[in-house]
Amino acid sequence: MSHQSDLIEKDILAYLKSQEEKSLLRFITCGSVDDGKSTLIGRLLWDSKMIFEDQLAALESDSKKVGTQGGAIDYALLLDGLQAEREQGITIDVAYRFFSTDRRKFIVADTPGHEQYTRNMVTGASTAQVAVILVDARKGLLTQTRRHSYLVSLVGIRHVVLAINKMDLVGYDAERFDTILRDYQQFAAPLGFASITAIPISALNGDNIIDASNNTPWYQGSTLMNYLETVQVEDDARNLPFRMPVQWVNRPHLDFRGFCGTIAAGTIRPGDELQVASSGRTSRVARIVTMNGDLQEAVAGQAVTLTLADEIDISRGDVLAPTDAPPRLSRHPEAHLVWMHDEALQPGKVYLVKTATSVTSGRVTRVQFAVDVNTLEQKQAPTLGLNEIGVVRLELDRPVAFDPYRQNRETGSFIIIDRFTNATVAAGMVIAVAPLESPEAELTELGAALPEAGGLLPRRFILSESSISGTGMGVADLTGERGAIEFEVSESFLDYLGKGNRVLFRLRDVGQLEPVARMAYEHHLNFEFGRDQDRVNVILYLDRQGSLAGNPELHGGGL
């Protein structure tokens, strides 16, 4: 019994109190068509007493009419929501199911296992913390199993349950179970999951779903329910630098200006210094306002309203972040793209790109490669069609604050919308970009154009926004350069500085200062420099007011 009936009957207030500390786990189930996925979820709902008598009556009558279990209860019918699907005998979209025990509330994304439905799985997985991947014990790992695992890892799920189902049909054979687990561990090693937990089950008979099964005395691990109730989904988001995309500015009267948003990462307290990612303006948190009273601290996941100590210009789409760890502001993110529409991606075509609260026009300038979801091989591709996945380079009309998706799902994700049909055509995940992005690569291209003169010519660095993709403070590390250097400055680089971004040059010695100073002189830029042991650090920026404010970051080892 999943809810403590005794306590409910005897002391409802005590019971309610005990429920207040309950946590929430979102998971996704993935499996192929006949893996018994719907049966498994139906079983979880059933065993956690979330099926009511009238639903049971309907289930019994439906099982007789359209069931696949010869008139016996067909749990799968609990889940097949839409009539058209019911007639086809399959689920075709993403459905969300709910059940709870005394320890946790669960939200299950139920997605189909059909080949053409990568789209749905990625959708369901985007909000999940754990994936339950079903494998038919008779068949072992299939192409679909590999595909699902890849998608699950792509979308950033770090904990996987390998539910080896239909153990009853292989005589609860421990060796069969071990073989499948070994195969899977080998296959999944490069996917980087934090944990893989294999459980031998029979969804139909209930083995190891709630209670440990007598049929698998060789298995000492958790039952599926026990795993789901206790798995620690480490809350990485809270330990990351603070991020709050501003969703709405609350101005009920002249004396109140609150910035509303859901905290995407980190924690915040009154007094903390914050910076607006796009403008670099800073202020301190004055209050964390809620209807139930001001908070002394707020954490990732909470929807709050912040007021600041100073009146600075902030609007929807801005991201608030700490001054020492701002997100990257970029017009050219590189990203994984999952194409979700019948009409294929058209590189060069203008789409709308929606990130956490900001919408900007943009285009895909290049498909670097597509990924074969079955073999994980990279292949050249001019475009991406429905359910295809690739790595692309985008060009946005204005810089947008991003974190790498691997670090932060909230500030690393985006969707692409067709401007004319308004359809959601793709989901994107920003890949980590190095601070000074491959100057060597730029140089290689340039090197072909320049005559090689025995290394006597200065090394020429092209500075563009895409080569300096850090936000707030980009970094150009020149400490490895021994010869002469010079810079070529692009318009986008000047735009980047014009938006309040700064670039830190780490120099090998004071001799390298000259080309930096020359560049600043030629382009009317400002810089400040500080010594860091034997090295030199220079911060390049554009100050429209022309004033040279002291910059504390230049001093000491903080750089």
Partner: protein, 301 residues
């Protein structure tokens, strides 16, 4: 410092995020207010989302003229207390045709007085987004509906061409005449709603609490005699029983359950110990399998 957010805190944050997104992205949103417990929670969340400002949208109640009288009293009181504009829309054509749940059957009546009435109101005020308190756990077709659910210019839902909905990035783009129905309580369950009402001390219509009320037994259901439009059939008689309602709608279509649960904890206790789902009390779902899906395609909430 380690504050773990509870399931209700997480659900609350998600709902608030959804509401702010609507206000930021739409020109003319409205909140469908059905006066029931889900609407009560939705209204409470809206107040939290925009505090200290009042929610920046009106409430819309599509009045079938057959609501319980206590619901109407409660509705007017809540709108006044929250400082919100309340729009009450009645399908006048339906009233003029004398449409009644007793004489026209629940299906036709619901279609004309609720679905048609709703569409009329949305067209009249040109709302581009409408919040509804529906939850995914209520009914199978709802389980697959998006939180931001697109409606064409005829208010129709097409379950086969729903927009993929990822992370908390909602596609709010529409063309003129089209609209989005937004369900901020999508991921709440009935138990969550009750626990939250308890925890946050949210006012609800007294009909949810057990009291002695006049009822007649009809087709195996207890129907409350709320006014003199309920005409007794031969053999029926008014009985006084301690009853309450698990769901509130039009009184002729909403069955009461016998109960003595007169406090919130006792209601929750009863809910946890009974084994009948809440839509059982609504006659609309029994008409045919998949009936909710059909109604939703036609524009029902």
């Amino acid at each position: 410092m380690n504050i773990n957010l509870t399931h209700l805190q997480q659900l609350e944050a998600e709902s608030i995020h959804i509401m702010r997104e609507v206000v930021a992205e739409f020109a003319n949103p409205v909140m469908l207010y059905s006066i029931g417990k889900d609407s009560a929670v939705m209204l409470h969340l809206a107040r939290k989302a925009f505090y200290p400002a009042p929610p920046p949208f009106p409430l819309l109640h599509v009045d079938t003229t057959w609501k319980f009288r206590e619901m109407i009293t409660f509705r007017d009181r809540m709108a006044a207390e929250c400082g919100l504009d309340l729009i009450v829309h009645v399908n006048v054509e339906g009233v003029n045709q004398g449409i009644s749940p007793f004489t026209h059957g629940s299906a036709l009546y619901t279609d004309i007085m609720k679905t048609e009435g709703l569409k009329q109101a949305l067209d009249k005020y040109k709302f581009d987004a409408a919040f509804g308190g529906a939850r995914r756990d209520e009914e199978k077709s709802r389980a697959k509906e998006r939180i931001f659910s697109f409606r064409d210019a005829n208010h129709r839902w097409d379950p086969k061409s729903q927009r993929p909905e990822l992370w908390n990035l909602y596609n709010t783009r529409i063309k003129p005449g089209e609209s989005i129905r937004v369900f901020p309580l999508s991921n709440w369950t009935e138990l969550d709603v009750w626990q939250y009402i308890h925890l946050e001390n949210i006012p609800i219509v007294p009909l949810y609490y057990a009291a002695v009320r006049p009822v007649v037994e009809r087709d195996g259901m207890l129907i409350m005699v709320d006014d003199d439009r309920l005409v007794l059939k031969p053999g029926e008689q008014v009985q006084y029983k301690s009853v309450r309602f698990r769901t509130l709608g039009c009184y002729p279509l909403t069955a009461a359950v016998e109960s003595t649960a007169d406090t919130l904890p006792r209601i929750i206790q009863e809910m946890l110990l009974t084994r009948t789902s809440e839509r059982q009390g609504r006659l609309i779902d029994h008409d045919q399998a998949g009936s909710m899906e059909k109604k939703k395609q036609e524009g029902y909430f």
